[in-house]
Structures are given as C-alpha cells and as structure tokens.
Symmetry: C2
Subunit: 616 residues, 2 copies
C-alpha cells in the first residue's frame, strides 16, 4: 500500500523544496489569469442560452449585455488594484473580510469561495470537454466520463505536487489568447472583405418566453460568469518580483483589458455570424468553424487551446481550495487535517475533498453547465462584495493619504457587485441559485460549529492551574497497581506473547477466554492447567455468552473488574498476529478490530496491542 502510494505520488519532498521562486510578470500573468480568461469560453454562451428563450431576435441583446459586463470588469479590476496595494502578502476575500469585517462575514466569504472553487473545477472541465466534443462529435455521449477523467488527472497532478509555476503553464494561456486574437482578426478581415457589415440572421427559433426585463437580467447574470477568477492576481501578489505590488497592479490592468477585449470579440463575432447556442457545439466552436472552416488546423488549435486553458482553470481551483481550507483549518473552522501537508508538500486532504465535491457536481450536472454556471456567478459576486466592503472599512479605519478616493473606488466596486449579486439571486433563484442561497449559510454554520467544538474540546484537554503535574517512576519494590486483562481468542503464539508482555507490566494478569458455542470450557481449563499451571498472579477466566456476540461478555467482565478494584489501572491486552501480506489481515484479527470498537464505546482507559509478526 505504502509503496503503491509512493509510486503514484512520488517520493517525499524536503520542506522548503516547494517555495517557488518569484516570477517575472510575463510568467505570472498566465498562471494567475487562466481562470479569468478561460471564462470567455462559456460566458457568451451562457448569456445567449437565456436570450434564445425569447426567440432568435433576442440574441442581439448579447451586445449591450457584454458591454455592461465589460464595464463591471473595469470597476472590479480598479477596485482590486487597491486590494493588491493593501495586502501584498495576498489578499483573498477571506483574509480581507476577516481582518476588516470580523468573523461572520469572513466565513460567508470563505463558504462562497469553497463553493466557488468546487464549481470552477467542475464547470471548467465540463466546458473543456464540450470544447473537445465540438471538435470530435463522436465523443458527445461520453462527456461525463471524459470530464471525470480530466478531473482525476488534474487532481492526481496536484496530489503529486505539480506547482502552478513553470513555463509549461504559461503556454496554454497565451496560446488561447493568441487563438482568440486570431479569431477576432480573421473575423474582422472577413467582415471587411467578404462578409460585409450586415450581421447574419441567426437560425429562426420560436420564442418560449416573452422578452422582458427579467429575462434580460437573467441573461446578464449568466454572462457575469465571465468575471470569475478576476481576483486571482490579488490573491497571488507574492508570486511577483519586487516591487511585487506595483507589478501585480500593472498585470491586473493588462489582464482586465485582455479579458474585456476577448469577451467583446467573442460576443461580437457571435452576433455577426448569427450564432445561436446548440447542445452539440459550443458557441465558441461555432464561431471558430465560421471563421476558420470546420476542418482547418486553426479550428483544431482553437479547440485544443480552449480545452487546455480550461484544464488550467480547474488547476487553479485545485490550488485555491486546499489553500483556503488549510487557512480555515488553522483558524480551527475546519478539522486540522485539512492543514496537514503531505509528503509531496501539498494539502492532500483538501485536494481529496475537492476531487470528491467537483466529481459530484459533474455527475449531477451530466455535462450541462447551465445550472453550475449560474451558481458559480453567485459565489463569485458574494466574495467580491465582501472583499471590497472589507477594503472600504479598512480605508475608513486607517485614513492614510488619499483615503477618500480609495474608499470611494472600493465602495463603488462593492456596491456594484452587491447589486449584481442581488440581480443574480433574484433572477436565478428558480434556476438553482436557491441551492447556493441555502448552501452558504449551512456551510457557515458548519464552520462555526467546528470552531465551537474545537474550543470545547481544547478547553477540556488543557492543563488547568490546579492539576498535579508530578511525574516520577515508582520504586520498583512497590506493586505498580496495574491489572492486565488479556483477551485470549485461541491458544497460539500471539496469545503467549501477549500474556508474557502482560506479566512484565502488571501485578495481576487475567487471561480471558470467551467460549463460543462449539468450545468446551472444561477442556480449555484442563489444557491451561496442564500447560501453564497455576503461577501466582496469573489466572484463566472462562466466560460464556447467552447471545451470539463474543465481545459483550468480555466488555461486561472488564466493567465488573473495574468496579471491584477501583484502585487499580486496567490494561486490556489484545494479541494480534501480523501477517506478511496485507491480504491476510482479512483473515486474522477481525475479532480484535471489532473489540477495540466496542471498548471505545465504554470508558476503559488503557488498551494495548501486542503484535506477533508471523514468520512466513
């Protein structure tokens, strides 16, 4: 088992081996922005998917909606630039909210982020799979298993400790940017020389709903999924070379501009070519086919780079979720195991939880990203709002030079994202947003509950001022006050070992044999007397059970003995044969495993396993 794990995950790494060197902005940009930039692969599609409900004519509304979202991107980017300056160590929403707004809001932010990272991993991989099956329609029926396979691959890479650094990670992001740029250029050229400036009419689709404000707001909410991942640069300021904050701020602007341009390009081209969403082919792929031609290498390149950047975006979630979970665990809002660093210097428990959660989302969605994208935007805007509200409080408190302007900038960011949040909740409530509206408070309650239990438990085990701290080994002439009760399942070498150990640590040893239906107590007693005799301090006790369980008589006997000799310490000694092969564990010791569980439920104090290693 151990060696299998090692082969799967690689040899342990030394501490400090993982401290990534800082990166030039040109490398940090792609690493931190794959999540944000990749969202243009699905955001336009998400908005169009709502608009189409009002018939094909409504599709042209995607242009003003895109415009509004680009404006929003501008506000949020400017607002986060200030967070970078204030938190050069990394200003995730949880940290900013914790420092400025207190525990409650910070837990809301944390819960929203946990939900969000899960959905990022799931949505990105489902969208990546769709990019692939738009290229190879034969894969359409296998979208869910392919997405799960990608998830396992990304998870495994993270368990091995693949870092976000490295140039290999920069290539897919830039390649995707280049492909979208080529798409825009070729599309524009087409527009000027061949296509003309009149947009194609989209395929005629019957309206299912009237085109009203509510529908437009729903389309806007869906399009807001373009904004996921914007905060990543603010979280990762540490990655930049000195002066890190300034470089990060500049990179943030560049990234915002790229995102806005790419989003505009995709929405514009979609409108121009009259693209309507279909279940079989993504909007981006449809545009790619119109611009590059269906079988052309450029179309292949577009789809492959889309898949790769989306896989990178999922990878971002695998970096963010465990890191946040570890922070929460250090603050005792999650079990401390979440903060354990494994041999490969990653938070492996967090990665495991994310794997399960994202896999569950993929299974539930079965390849349809619509609902997940809705939920996703909700979590993102919750985190945006709280993080920037925290910044407002911070400026108010510190009142450094120029604080009023900064406060206003963050207030604008917080206010607009809050309004969008409300829009999303209201317009998407029926379409799944209610699950997040329920899940986040539940998650917050769970986090608080865990913290409360930690407080109770740690208070209970803490040493109090009056506690007697004296420790000394007794004089060896005195009795040690220890009675060993040895469970004897059969008369064998492991049993003999256990009895022998018990005699070295106790004043009195009782060998306890619980007879099963087909054993003869008299014969067992006779055999004991013949082989062991009656050495002082050592006795055999035969128990019979009226029930099927062999545990209960033993457990009852222990309780009785403890009551009869309250001055003694009782050590339960359990012989255990350890076989060479793990498989054999299924055959041996099963009673012992069961008994430990039974004794756990009682208030017995000391439980000793004496192991006998089988010679072959």
């Amino acid at each position: 088992m151990l060696s299998f794990t090692r082969r799967l995950l690689g040899a342990p790494l030394r501490r400090g081996q993982s401290d990534a060197a800082t990166l030039p902005s040109i490398e940090a940009l792609p690493i931190l922005s794959s999540d944000a930039l990749s969202s243009v692969a699905y955001a336009t599609e998400a908005a169009l998917g709502v608009l189409i409900l009002a018939g094909s004519r409504a599709l042209e509304l995607s242009l003003p909606i895109t415009g509004a979202i680009v404006l929003l991107i501008g506000i949020v980017v400017l607002s986060y630039r200030q967070t970078i300056e204030a938190y050069p160590q990394g200003g995730g929403s949880y940290v900013v909210a914790r420092e400025n707004l207190g525990t409650g809001p910070s837990l809301v932010a944390a819960a929203a982020l946990l939900v969000d990272y899960t959905l990022t991993a799931a949505v990105s991989l489902m969208a990546g799979t769709q990019a692939l099956s738009s290229l190879l329609p034969g894969l359409l029926p296998y979208e869910t298993p392919i997405a799960l396979l990608l998830l396992v691959l990304v998870g495994w890479a993270n368990l091995r400790g693949v870092r976000e650094a490295g140039r290999a990670f920069a290539i897919p992001t830039y390649a995707f940017v280049v492909m979208v740029a080529l798409l825009a250029l070729f599309g524009l050229q087409n527009l000027v020389f061949a296509h003309g400036f009149t947009p194609d009419p989209p395929p005629l689709v019957q309206a299912m709903e009237p085109l009203g404000l509510f529908l437009i707001l729903r389309a806007f909410s869906s399009g807001c999924s373009a904004m996921t991942g914007i905060e990543a640069i603010a979280n990762g300021v540490k990655v930049f070379r000195a002066p890190a904050a300034q470089r990060a701020q500049r990179t943030m602007l560049v990234m915002g501009a790229m995102l806005a341009l790419m989003f505009l390009a995709v929405s514009g081209l979609g409108w121009l070519y009259g693209v309507a969403p279909t279940p079989d082919r993504t909007v981006l792929a449809q545009i790619g086919i119109r611009v590059f031609g269906a079988g052309s290498p450029l179309f292949w390149a577009l789809q492959i780079t889309t898949l790769l950047i989306l896989a990178l975006a999922a990878n971002t979630a695998f970096a963010g979720f465990p890191r946040l979970a570890a922070m929460l665990a250090q603050d005792r809002f999650l079990p401390r195991q979440m903060a354990w660093i494994g041999d490969r210097l990653v938070f492996q428990n967090g990665i495991g939880v994310l794997l399960l959660a994202a896999g569950g989302v993929i299974l539930i969605c079965r390849g349809d990203t619509t609902v997940a994208v809705n939920l996703y935007a909700l979590g993102v805007f919750t985190a945006f709002t709280l993080s920037q509200a925290g910044m407002v409080v911070r400026w108010w408190r510190l009142r450094g030079p120029g604080w009023i302007g900064r406060l206003l900038m963050n207030a604008l960011g917080s206010f607009t994202t809050f309004v969008v949040l409300l829009v999303i909740v209201v317009s998407k409530f029926d379409e799944g947003a209610w699950t997040v509206v329920i899940a986040i408070p539940l998650l917050v309650l769970l986090l608080q509950r865990i913290r409360h239990r930690y407080d109770v438990v740690y208070r209970a085990i803490a040493l109090k001022p009056g506690d007697d701290l004296s420790l000394r080994l007794p004089q060896r002439r005195d009795p040690v006050g220890n009675t060993s009760l040895v469970w004897v399942p059969s008369w064998s070498r492991p049993t003999l070992e256990a009895l022998r150990y018990a005699t070295t640590v106790s004043d009195r040893v009782v060998a306890v044999w619980v007879c099963s239906e087909d054993e003869d107590p008299a014969a067992i007693q006779a055999h004991w007397t013949r082989t062991v005799g009656e050495p002082p301090g050592l006795e055999l006790r035969l128990l019979e059970s009226p029930y099927a369980s062999l545990m209960d008589p033993f457990v009852d006997f222990v309780a009785e003995e403890e009551q009869r000799h309250p001055d003694q310490t009782f050590t339960i000694v359990m012989p255990m044969g350890i076989p060479r092969y793990r498989f054999d564990n299924l055959l041996l010791n099963q009673r012992g495993v069961n008994m430990r569980r039974c004794l756990d439920a009682r208030r017995n104090r000391v439980f000793t396993l004496v192991r006998y290693y089988l010679p072959a």
Copy 2:
C-alpha cells in the same frame, strides 16, 4: 452509532431463539418453492425473447421448448428425490459434491451457487419490478431505483432476522399459484366458449436472424431459467416434520408437478393469445390483460402476487447465500467473518455481501433481465450436474440395496443437466455466458487461495512442541525490561495521563515531541524542565523533521532505540482524548490514527493507547 444500529435492527436475540420448529408440508412447500415457482414469471418470456429474433412465426416454437423443459423438470425432480433420502440433514450441491467428489468440484459447485444466489436476488427483484410497472406504466422509468429499494427492504428484513418460516410467507406463494390456476381456467373457458381453438396470430415482427437450430437452442437455454430453485427442497429437508425425508420427497413431487403445469399454462396461453415480448409489459401481464381485462381486480391480483412471490424468491437467496458463505468460512474457504452470527442470529456479513453484489447486478443490468437470466441458468445447471454426479459416486461407493437403479436415475439427471449446461455455454457464450465461464474459475481460485493463506497463517501462529510455555510474573525488585516511548503531540491532560501510565509500567520513559515547522524546540524544552523537572528514568526527546511528515521522525526514532537496546521491550504509548460526541473524533486524535497505521508497517511490537475521557 450503536443505538442507531440497534434501532434499525432490533435488540440482540438469545442463542437458540432462532431454531425454527419443524413445519407441516403444507407450510414448508410454499416457503421452499417460491424461488422455483416464481420463475414462471420470466421463463416463458425469456424463451420468447430469443424466438422473436427469427420473426413472429417462430414464437410457436415455445411450445415444444416448454415441453422439453417440462421433461427436464421431471428428470431433475426424480433425481433430487434421491438426494433428499441420502441427505436428510440438507443436501446442498456444495455438501454433496464435497462428500463425494472432493474439494475441487465442491468449490466449483459453491462458486456456481454463490453466483446463482446473487443473480436470483437481482433477477427476481427486477422481474418483480417489471410486474409492477406492467400494472402501472408510469413506473417504467424508475425500474432500477424501485428494484434497488426492494433489495434494500429484503436485505434489511434479513438483517433483522426475518425467518423463512411463518405462515405470512406461505400466502404469497399460494396466492400466486391460485392466480396462475385462475388464469389457466379462465383462459380455457375463453378457449371453449368465446375465443375458439385457433390461436391468435402474434403481431407481425420482422425476422432479424434466420430460424436455425442454434437459435432454438438459445431459446431453450433461456427457458431453462424456469428450473432455478428446484433444489431448494433438497436443501431444506430439516424443515419438515418426521418422517422428514419422506415428506420432503412427496413435497418435491408436488412442487415439480405444480411448476410443470404452471409453466405449460403460461407458455400455452401465450401462444394461444399470440403474445410477443415487448419491453413495456411482461408476457405474463399481457396474458393477464387478454384473459382478465386490463383494469380488472383479477389482473391487479395477478401482478401483485407476482411481485410478492418474486420478492420471496429474492428472500430465498438471502437465506441461501449467507448460509453457504458461512459453510465455506467454516471450511476456511472464505474469511471467518462470514460465519459470524450477529446479534440478531443471522450471518450479517453474508447478507451484506449479497446486498452489495445483487445491487451491483441490478445497476449493471438497469432493469433488463435478459442477460442476467442467461447467466443464472448457467450457474443452476452447473450445480445440478455436480450435485447429481456426486450422488452417482455415492451410490457406487455404498452399493446399498437397489443401488443400481438409483445410480442410473442420478446418472440420467447428471448427464441431461450436463448436456443442457453445454448447450447453455455454447449457445449463450456471446450473450454474457462468458462472464460466468470466467467468474466461476476465478471464484474457485479465490476460495482456494483463501484456504491456502489460512493454512499458512494458522501454521505460523500455532504453538510448536519446542516452544517455551513458561509464564510467571517477575519478582518486583528486578527491572521489568520495558521502555515506554510516549508520543507527545501537545502538553495537555491526555499527554499527562499517558506519561503517568508509562511510568507505572516501565523502567525508562521517553517523551517524544516531533516539532512542526512553527514550534520552537528551545521553548518546549524550557517548559518541560520548568514543569516536569528531571526525574530519574524520564526524559524528553525533541525531534525535527526535514520532511512534512511528523510520523517519520518518530517511527525512525523507535527503530533506532530498538536497535540500540535489543534486550528491552518497547511500548509505544499514544495519548488519546476521547470526546463525548462522535463528531469530535474528526477533530481530535487524527495524528494518532495515522501513526498507528505507520507503526503497523514497521515491526514494532507493543502499542498502547491511553485514553483520556473528556469531561464535557
């Protein structure tokens, strides 16, 4: 947890409480024959489902096929009558093959039976669900979850210890027999007075395959699923009143006659009314509609009794599988846990394994019984063949009065079932029979492997003649030769308890503290010196780790110490805070759980848990 189990399964039963009284034949018959009789609910359908491939004209071949199978039923019933006489304690195929043919063939029979019981449970419940959805077509899309729900219900009833006895179990079987008899009578009346003697033509279906011998053999093989469960009476002779064997023999004949008549009636009516198999409605339900009318109470009664008898048939598997698994476990061919009797006096591990396996089959088949029915017949005929071959050997060996006739009868049974077995393997090989052809040898290998491991392991722990068996408590003035290494995760009450216990049982105690990255060794040492001082025999050892793991340094330290003092026994002492609530276990002690696993992998001998029960 315990109390939840108790609520789910009921209070423990006393030993002996389960020994069922013997039953009159009139009650034993339905209990032991639900499996056999219920198979008429799907056997005709299975044969028709193959014949239809050669077009609707081929359906009339179901009559000669049914005739052949009825003949086969006669031979097998007569052959098994002799098994009843020879094995009044219950002559399952495994027992008969073990006694007469040796270990190899008996394991083949056992493997075939294990596969078979699993398929019985799955097929019966899927067929029962189909009976239900033939009545209520709205349930059609939910067949798989309904079948799983039924499985869980039957499994739960068996975990609670519902016995096969009781009149409640007799009613569904007789009710089903009555309903099929009514079906035959009404159908006959119809034939004479209204319908006339010319059969209806079945709906025209295009032939997909030519009608050849191979197709007919495949249809015959499918129809042979009618013979599943015939051996149940021979297994359960003990249930009958004295003279048990004679009563069982008579009951066997009655059951065989009932089965043959019912099977003939269903196949005959199906032909007469021109019924062809459809995916939405079972053949039996189609006949019921033609004879009784779609909404009539009699049709409802037919479908409900079909469901009930099929549920009973599944229940038979839940009795047979765990009993056989327990027998195999007693012979050490399966882990002995399979022979454990739980508080409710049932083999709960066997029931659990069957639940999982049958649930897996239902999930894989997704409501389509075709493949499973094929596999099913294969296992049944393997068991038939071996069991009767065993009887042949037995008669040859004993040569009692009239042995030649008996030998010939069993030889005929064994030979015909063997021929049928070959027919099934060959004709159904492509349709899933290959899985059983592979699964049975693999299962046999597994059973043999487990037995081999038991032999090795038991030999290893057995006491040998030269072993020193002396046991005595040492004189208390001598050092006991025990060093305790106490894992100190923090300076708290559980740690203090563990240290104090260690001082009572050892000459030397080492408190081992593995520093994590954020702990200061000097501060820890200073605090120790201040509070504990330097009592003789007690020392603090601070370890640091170059890797992330806190276990490895401790485990390495233990190994070093053991090497340095080979004369000492080393006891690893682990403090453990036991919280009031199970939930809190997630928060505490997780390092300890991990460490026990690490130490298991090394050859350390004694591991002691010192528990501190948290006051609140």
